[in-house]
Every structure is written in C-alpha cells, then in structure tokens.
C-alpha cells in the first residue's frame, strides 16, 4: 500500500471512466414505457425502453443517475477494474446458500384417514381401515433414520395426512423416536391438522415438544363449509373452536392457517381476508388449488384459469395493502416469499419457489405406503397411479433413493437457470422451477413456459409486486415490514 503524497484535489471526472463493460443481465418490459433490467446479482434497474439497446451498443450514458444505478446494481462495470466480480460472486453464493442445507423439510404422511371430505382434497379417505392407510411402524423407523442422515443441521419434521391426529399414537412414537436418535440436529415439529381434533393429551404433547400447529381456514363460514365438508356439522365452527383452544393452550403464535382458493373463493377476496382478520390472524397465504387429479374430480368447483386466480389475487392484495396503510399489520405470505428474494440478498426457505426446485433438494416425503416421494405433490400424483416421482422404498437407503431415475429426472429439470424460457427470463431470480407441476399438467417435467400456468402466475405476480414496490414509499415500507417480521 502506497502512502499518498500531498496533492491537489482532482475533480470528479478524474475518477470516472465513461467507458464500461457489460455484466450478465436480463430484461423485460415492465410496463408500456419502461424496461426492467436485472443483473446477475438479482438487483434491478427500471429505465426507459431503449436503455438496454443503448448500453448493449456501449453508447455513453449521459444520464448520471442511470449510469450510477447500472454500476451499483452490477449491470455494468468500469473498463479497468475487475474486483467487482468478487462481490457478485458472493451475491450468487449467498443466493444459493440453502443448497448446503439439502432437504431440510421432511414430510411424514402418517395416515390417509380423515374426518373431512373436502372436495379439493387429493388424497384423503374416510375409513377406519388402519391396516392399509396408516404408515407402518417399521417403515416409520426407516424414514426417521433417513431423515436424520440428511446433511442439514436444521430440520423441520412435518406431519400430514389425511388427518395425522387420527394416528396420534403413531405421531407420538415418531416424535419420541426421532428425539431419542437425534445427536446433532435442531428439529422443529409441525402438525398439519384440519383443526377439529384436539384434547388435553394432544395439547400436553405439543407443549412438551414445542410443536407448531398448522391448520386450514378457507374464509368465512359459508365458504369454508362449502369447501371443507364434515360428515356432520360445520367444519368452520369446529376449526375456529380448535384454533381458539390451541391458541389458549400453546400461545397465539404457535398456530397458523392455510387457505385454498376454490372456484367459489374467487368471488370473495375481501370476505376471506376479513375472516382471517376477525379470527386474529396477521397473515394469509393466497394459494390456488393444486391442479392435480383428485382436485379436478369435481371440475365445476375446482377448475379455473390462472388468469381468474390472478384477478382474485390482485383484488385481495390491494385490499390487504389498504389494511396495512391504515396501520394494521397483515401480511400476504406468497408475496413475502418473492419480496424477500427481491429485497434481500437471501433466498426464501419456501420450498415451492426455488431453483433448484424444492423437490428433493429441500423436501422429502415419506408416504403412508412406505415409499419416499420427491414432494407433497408427487405423492398426490401417486394416488392417480402416476409413480413418476416415487424415489423408492424407505428401506432402500439414501444413496439409492437419491440416484434413482426418478430423482435424476427431478434434478435434470429443476434449475431454472438452465430451462428454456426461464434461462433468459428477467425475473428468474425471484421465481423457481417445478418439474412435478410441469409433468402433471404438461406431461413433461421439463415444461413449456409459454403455456405454463406456473409461469403465468409467477411472472404476473412478480411484475405486479415490482410495480407496487416502485409505486410508493409507504408500500415499500410495508413490504420491508413483512419480510422482516418473524
């Protein structure tokens, strides 16, 4: 390092280099007059249409602000320095950091039995037949062993069904066995329940092991009960009572709710949000129905075009923003997943919007039938006799499962950086890949983006959120609050 000698001060121009080199970037038209330019770091600039052409042709950038923005967002770099590349390399490394935490979500489908007959449910059975619809203990032992072999130090063990609390003995056994075998991992437990089964024994157990409860609430009573059918009585009454019961016993933040939008739901965006607010929730995940087999067995109730969902989403979202602008914190969770990718250098740990895809890379499913599946949707496909993503039996061992043809077909199609359509999509950093979806809908895990509902939905919501971000500081502030809240 050189000590500087006393010198004359030099003007700013002396430190400028008007020439520049391009770094990798992608772009699209965000509205009728502007381009969205996204660099390899995931930072973006919005500039008038024509800006990309100008920089590609290396024209001098006379707009001082634009020139500095392009540098600060790692879209261009000055001619002489290459040190900036290290910073970008770190940014990319940070974005993909979750890969070092391979498969951190482990879903255990303890039983397919359920006390509900929801019309959009892909899997459950109303039956007493434990023999054929419950996970066998020996298979469960294998599954736990597999889970504990995961390289991830932080693990979520999630119990699903059917209704997993109908198999409470099995659930208890699973938690206790896991804890007795675990040596080095931090494990969170989640029970996904319809919220209508609870008693003191369950509560005590949840308290003892700090278990989170995730339940389903589709909206106001008429809507919830129309979507989620109990054989007798109102599911809404039961689930609201259940939520209350769990909250009182476990603490308010230990219970969350998920909604699924049926065709009927699309008409009631505000009512759904009000139902969440009235029942004391501060967030909602606006989630379309999974377009898989069972859900479509009653197409009138469950089939709608992506476009219809998007209209619903925007209406609901605008309403949510109004609520926030009036001073009440209320978060939309899907937007938060995307906003976290846009506003921070980190990835979201939400498994359905990642590249590489969450399937296998972040999730493994141990199904009641004793087989391991690549994702929750994969086991639903199996209920339609499509075993494309069945990796093998729980007794097969890690290596065999993860190198199976089925696993390889997931891996091959799970990097949106390398998929046609996505690879040059400007918003791919904020999106993900979903080979299971594309297999199910388009018959090809690779997928065809121009006709893909996954793409249409994500592209539309991502662009919408970026426009919102740029629209006003108050909205931007709300978004920051969403992503920084726990």
């Amino acid at each position: 390092m050189e000590v500087v000698k006393r010198q004359k001060f030099k003007p700013k121009e002396h430190y400028n280099s008007p020439g520049y080199k391009l770094l990798p970037f992608k772009y699209l038209h965000i509205d009728s007059t502007n381009e969205l330019i996204v660099g390899a770091s995931g930072d973006y600039v919005i500039a008038p249409i024509g800006s990309v052409e100008a920089i590609v042709k290396r024209r001098p950038i006379s707009n001082e602000k634009l020139m500095r923005d392009l540098h600060a967002k790692h879209i261009i770099i000055d001619e002489y320095e290459s040190g900036g590349l290290d910073v970008i390399a770190n940014r990319i490394r940070t974005k993909k950091d979750h890969l070092l935490q391979l498969s951190s979500l482990h879903i255990f489908v303890l039983t397919l039995r359920c006390n509900h007959t929801c019309h959009y449910c892909q899997v459950s059975r109303v039956t007493q037949d434990k023999q054929s619809f419950d996970l066998k203990k020996t298979d469960l032992d294998h599954a736990i062993e597999l889970m504990l072999k995961s390289p991830s130090k932080f693990i979520t063990m999630e119990f699903q069904g059917g209704e997993p609390l109908l198999a409470f003995d099995l659930l208890k056994y699973a938690v206790e066995t896991t804890l007795s075998l675990n040596t080095d991992k931090r494990i969170n437990f989640v029970i996904c329940t319809n919220g209508t089964i609870y008693n003191e024994e369950i509560i005590k157990f949840c308290l003892k092991y700090d278990i989170l409860i995730s339940t389903s609430l589709d909206g106001p009573e008429f809507l919830h009960d129309s979507n989620r059918k109990l054989r007798k009585g109102s599911s809404y009454h039961d689930v609201i009572a259940g939520i209350q019961y769990f909250r009182n016993a476990l603490g308010k933040d230990r219970i969350s709710a998920l909604m699924t939008a049926s065709s009927l739901s699309l008409k009631y965006p505000q009512e759904i949000i009000n139902a969440y607010l009235e029942n004391g929730f501060h967030n909602i995940f606006l989630r379309p129905i999974s377009p898989y087999g069972f859900a479509l067995k009653s197409p009138k109730k469950n089939y709608y075009e992506t476009q219809q969902f998007l209209e619903f989403y925007e209406k609901a979202f605008e309403y949510i923003l109004q609520i926030n602008l009036k001073g009440t914190f209320f978060r939309e969770d899907f937007a938060s997943v995307i906003l976290k990718k846009i506003l921070t250098p980190f990835q979201s740990n939400y498994v359905d919007l990642q590249s590489p895809a969450g399937a296998i890379n972040s999730v493994l499913v141990y199904n009641y039938d004793g087989y391991v599946y690549a994702s929750d949707e994969s086991r639903m496909l199996a209920e339609q006799n499509d075993y494309s993503f069945r990796l093998g039996h729980v007794s097969d061992g890690y290596k065999k499962l993860l190198t199976s043809d089925e696993a390889l077909s997931v891996f091959k199609n799970s990097l949106n950086e390398a998929l046609n359509g996505c690879s040059d999509c400007a918003v791919s950093d904020f999106c993900g890949a979903d080979p299971v979806f594309h297999h199910a809908i388009q018959g090809d895990a690779y997928g065809h983006r121009p006709t893909s509902g996954f793409c249409e939905k994500n592209m539309s919501i991502i662009k919408y959120l970026i426009r919102k971000l740029e629209e006003s500081t108050s909205v931007r502030n709300i978004f920051y609050e969403w992503i920084s809240a726990k």
Binding site: M1, V4, F9, K12, E81, V87, R91, T473, S484
Partner: protein, 371 residues
C-alpha cells in the same frame, strides 16, 4: 474542548518518557510519573514528576503546563525534553484512542486529520507500546485511529496482540479505510482478534465514481468493497460509516439499499455529521450542506436500514437539527475532549441527551436552536 497536548518547562530530562500519573505524598500540586518498564525490578519506579510549579528535585520535572488541571490519577502521559506533555490516556474518559500515524493511502476531501508525509511510525509506535501496559484493565473501549493504521504493517498486528493480552476485556474500535483487506491474508489476520474488535470503515457511496472522488484515490471503492467481503468471511464485526456531505447526499438512499444487498453482514451503519476542520475547510464549497436539505433522505435511509435489521447510529449531529423520529438513533459520539455547546444550548431542555457540536469545527450549521 480540552487540550490534550501542552508545552511547559522541563528540567533534568533528556529524550522522552511515558508514564502513569500517581498522586505524590510529598508534593501538594504534583504527580509522580511511574513506569516499571524502565525498571522491571521495581513496579513503583518513579521516573519523573509532573507539577504545577517547579520542584526542587533530582528527578526529571515538567511544570507550567496549560492543561495541568485536567490531569488525574491513572492517566498516562508522554513528556519530552522540549517540555511537551501529551495526554495519551485519561482513565475517566470513554474516548481514549491509540494514534498510529498521520500518513494515509487516501486523501479524503473532508479529512479532519490531514495526512502528512512525514514518517512518524516509530514515534507513535513507541508511545503506544509504552501506553498499552499502563492502561486500566477496566477500560471499556479503546479507539485506534490515524491516518490509516494498517500502513504500520506487521507492527499494527503486534499492537493488537498487546491489547488482546493486556486488556482482554476491552473493546477495540479501529478506524480504517479497509483497503488493506482487499488482500485476504490481512482479513484473515483479524480473525484472532474478532471477539473484541470492531472495524469502522467509511463507505461514501454505492458506486466507484463518487467514492473514489471523495477519497481522491482510484480503485478505492473496489478495494474497500472487496476488503469488506473478505472480512465477512472471518465474521469480523464491521461498522460502516457514511458521511453526510454534499457530493454524496443525493444517493444516500441508494447507498442504504446497496448496503442491505451487498453488505448485509455489517453490524451497524453510522451516519456521520461532518467535522469541519482539516481538509474540509479548503473544500467547503464542495462539501457544505445544511441538515435540513437532507433531512428527508436521511430519515428514509435510517428507516430502510433499521427495518432491514441493521443497527443504525447517527453520529456528530446535535439533536435539534434532527427530525424528532431520528433522535433515538443519535449517539453522543463526539469525544468528550472535542465536544462543545453553544451559548444558546444553555436554554435547551435536551442538552443532557445531546452530544453537542465539534469544538474543532470551523463552521457550524445555522439550524441549531434549543428544544
């Protein structure tokens, strides 16, 4: 303002000495200067006397000092045969620093401590080596400053090692432009000190043109950025320092955004009012800006970083020139010996919480008005 350096008269001294002040039984208005370094067999070795008036003694004696009144037991001073007395350490103060050098590898437009070309490494190194063992073990924080401290090279590591072994409880707050850490081995060398070390690194802008212009050094932005990323690998605590001045204020929000994206690992960001002295005076026309001109941009920047989860401090700004919502972020950062208040501050209800203004500043904002 307190003057840490003064010049009096001296007798019986050749060369220079560093020692710790201790009240003397024999003399009423004077201290004994002790330092066992000069005689390892005798911990209480008195090496000189510091007094208000001349004493009759065989020992070196320094007296007639303008800053005599602020001397206190436990303080460490440097004296030499020219009659200079520099207070190196004040036991009662929270603002003690080790000064490493006046030299620098940048030449910032607003530098309050203009870099000098004279080779002063040995001089300050000697003083610091003597000082460290004499400091109180209870000392909470020690600042290290320059110039650019790391120009001292390996001897800077030695100083950090001394601090670590002699003052294991003390936080070291080191001001550096961070360029040296573009060489990864330097970042790695910091790892052994990371428990107690905070590196305070200025970053003036989100782009190389503005930053390099401020520091008057080509490539400085890239070096500092690379340096910060290297430090992050070793989880070194970093405080970023952003100076509020005209050439960079326009992009202060963009800079905050840039920090959340590219430097999310920093522990805190400090927005700093300008100390208007040194080189800043020559560059007044380029640099000066009234706080009201950037109030709204500052507020947005502070809230952005705060929401993102990075701790934010505002340094060197009187409370009355800050928007009310920002006052909680303000810190009494001006060192006690440099801190001043205006006459009108006497009527201010916030004075006890306010860090005042730089006594060293040659220009103060017109916007000060009692709360």
């Amino acid at each position: 303002m307190i003057n840490l350096s003064s010049r009096g008269k001296v007798e019986n001294l050749e060369g220079q000495l560093v020692g710790k002040l201790r009240p003397s039984k024999g003399i009423k208005y004077g201290f004994e200067l002790v330092n066992s370094l000069y005689d390892p067999t005798n911990e209480d070795r008195v090496v000189a006397l510091v007094s208000q008036e001349r004493l009759n003694s065989q020992l070196p004696n320094i007296f007639n000092l303008s800053n005599y009144k602020i001397l206190a037991e436990g303080d460490v001073v440097y004296i030499n045969d020219q009659g200079v007395l520099d207070i190196l350490y004040r036991r009662q103060s929270k603002h003690n620093t080790l000064f490493i050098t006046d030299q620098c590898n940048s030449y910032c437009l607003m530098c309050s401590q203009p870099p000098k070309n004279k080779d002063d490494f040995d001089f300050h190194y000697f003083r610091n080596k003597c000082l460290i063992p004499l400091m109180d073990e209870e000392t909470e924080v020690i600042g290290i400053t320059g110039g650019e401290p790391f120009l001292l090279g390996d001897r800077m590591i030695e100083i950090l090692e001394d601090l670590k072994s002699q003052l294991p409880q003390t936080t070291i707050h080191l001001l550096t432009n961070g360029k040296v850490f573009a060489w990864n081995d330097w970042a790695e060398k910091m790892e052994q000190f990371k428990e107690n070390l905070i590196l305070a690194v200025p970053l003036y802008s989100d782009n190389f043109v503005d930053h390099d212009y401020i520091v008057q050094s080509n490539g400085a932005f890239r070096q500092t950025m690379l340096g910060l990323h290297n430090l992050a690998k070793y989880q070194i605590h970093i405080e970023l320092r952003v100076v509020l001045q005209r050439p960079t204020i326009k992009r202060i929000e963009e800079l905050s955004l840039f920090i959340t994206k590219n430097l999310p690992f920093v522990e805190s960001v400090a927005f700093m009012g300008l100390e208007f002295t040194g080189l800043a005076i020559a560059n007044k026309d380029k640099l000066w800006i009234e706080p009201s001109e950037y109030a709204s941009a500052l507020k947005k920047s502070v809230f952005l970083l705060d929401r993102f989860g990075i701790r934010v401090n505002i340094f060197n700004m009187p409370l009355c020139v800050l928007e009310p919502e920002l006052r909680d972020f303000a810190t009494k950062s001006i060192s006690d010996w440099k801190r001043s208040y205006l006459d009108k501050c006497e009527h201010c209800s916030a004075k006890s919480d306010c860090g005042g203004v730089f006594g060293t500043s040659r220009q103060l904002t017109n916007e000060i008005s009692p709360l």
